[in-house]
């Protein structure tokens, strides 16, 4: 296979680390040396030539090739079997409604949340149960890291360069989660977003840090969701009032109550859409009186429409904990779902 990347000679594993760290090509953690053999193995797994165009970043018009994505995936620790997910996630991120350049450059400091659905989760050993939002398994960790390294190295999204985040958050190292479809009574997220049943898919979202909540003292769906809604309202008051994609993560202990009551994801989305609302004047209660203006009685919804809520079944078997993952910039950046292995340019 004809690889086009510049080649360097290094003595050993340790000197490889220093070579990459000193050029700011890493996230500070050790990397797997991207040798031609390892990169070629990734490309062969997805049947893509090195110069295959994964997509073009819409603002800076940068072409993203399969080879360069594979180099970064190898560095992140990906095996060839992980690479199709990396390709799908990056392809989804390059779609214009996602607003990738703004998301990587913003002072807002969001990360790219990647949600995985379908059989690929089992094939790659992904685990959407214990520690679901952190390092639950190898595959989600390295895939999330591959996305971040690729943003840094292919789009210059290094801190202080294109990345102008004031704070950022830990999800910017890796932010990938597999939905726990096997232990859920609900439709998988991707199927709710029009991916055919049993197909594997990724959903990407420009996302703030997860805000954890707890309610172990009720079995009523409305009361459980009121806790999620309160957390969403807090984000609207403290961070941004603008409506957009929110993700909520619901663990088994709470899912059981929804199942007992016969609530679907659509029921959850409708309830949250109707209740996650604040008045502009509430800003005055948290130090933002200066921007209330003359429209204090104007009501703002967290979601432009109920479909903007991404309901994710994930988490360990015990504990009434959930999480709200807020959007970076309201509806100016939209979550994108894409089947893994889908061809954007192919005719039906």
């Amino acid at each position: 296979m004809n690889l086009n990347s510049k080649r360097y000679q290094v003595d050993d594993l340790q000197s490889t680390q220093e070579f990459y760290h000193s050029r700011k090509w890493t996230d500070g953690l050790p990397v797997v040396p991207p040798t031609p053999d390892l990169v070629e193995a990734c490309l062969e797994w997805v049947l893509m030539p090195a110069d295959h165009l994964v997509g073009i970043e819409p603002v800076r018009q940068r072409a993203i090739t399969a080879e360069k994505l594979a180099v970064n995936a190898v560095m992140a620790g990906c095996l060839p079997i992980h690479f199709p997910v990396v390709v799908a996630a990056f392809t989804a991120m390059l779609q214009e409604p996602f607003l990738l350049h703004g998301a990587t450059a913003s002072t807002g400091g969001c990360a790219i949340l990647i949600i995985i659905n379908g059989p690929v989760r089992g094939e790659l050993g992904m685990d959407g149960t214990f520690n679901a939002l952190a390092s639950s398994d190898r595959a989600t960790t390295v895939i999330g890291r591959a996305i971040r390294l690729a943003l840094c190295n292919l789009l210059d999204a290094r801190p202080g360069d294109v990345d102008r985040s004031t704070l950022g958050h830990p999800g910017k190292i890796s932010y990938c989660i597999a939905e726990d479809e096997e232990n859920s009574p609900w439709l998988p997220l991707a199927e709710e977003r029009d991916v055919p049943k049993h197909a594997s898919a990724v959903t990407v979202m420009t996302a703030g840090a997860p805000r954890q909540l707890m309610n172990e003292w009720t079995t009523k769906p409305e009361e459980i969701l009121d806790t999620f809604v309160a957390e969403m309202k807090a984000s609207m008051r403290h961070y941004s009032i603008w409506p957009g994609n929110y993700a909520i993560v619901i663990p088994p202990q709470l899912r059981a109550h929804f199942e007992d009551a016969g609530w679907s994801k659509a029921d959850i989305r409708r309830y949250v859409f109707e209740n996650a609302r604040i008045l502009r004047r509430e800003w005055a209660e948290c130090g933002k009186a200066a921007v209330v203006g003359k429209h204090g009685d104007t009501e703002y919804a967290a979601l432009p429409h109920s479909d903007h809520l991404l309901v994710i079944a994930a988490g360990g078997p015990a504990g009434g904990f959930g999480a709200v993952i807020p959007p970076w910039l309201g509806h100016k950046s939209l979550a994108v779902t894409m089947a893994i292995g889908a061809c954007l340019d192919c005719k039906p």
């Binding site: 990347s5 290094v10 991207p34 603002v59 180099v71 390294l149």
Partner: protein, 91 residues
């Protein structure tokens, strides 16, 4: 051991610096703000300086509708009438 460069190595010809104006005197200069509060006093000062110090004839101020996205199409269309433009961000 042979290892590969992980960075974007392609050229970006679309982002060459714009041609410099020989003089700002009598020119129309556009100023595009990202819309954040801090841009206003900064661009107010810039506008005064462009006119008072460099003899700019006209400063056109425009604001993007989305501070994290490229400027709107109508602003870019209008920009074709300007001799030069300054794009700036602020918080």
């Amino acid at each position: 051991m042979e290892i590969l460069d992980p960075t974007h190595e392609g050229a970006s010809p679309d982002f060459a610096p714009a041609a410099r104006l020989p003089s700002l005197g009598g020119a129309t200069i556009g100023v595009i703000s990202n819309g954040k509060k801090g841009t206003k006093p900064f661009f107010d000062a810039l506008e005064r300086e462009l006119i008072d110090k460099y003899g700019v004839a006209n400063v056109v101020r425009r604001t993007k509708s989305n501070y994290s996205a490229p400027a709107d199409a109508d602003i870019m269309e209008e920009a074709k009438q300007w001799h030069a433009l300054v794009a700036g961000v602020g918080d």
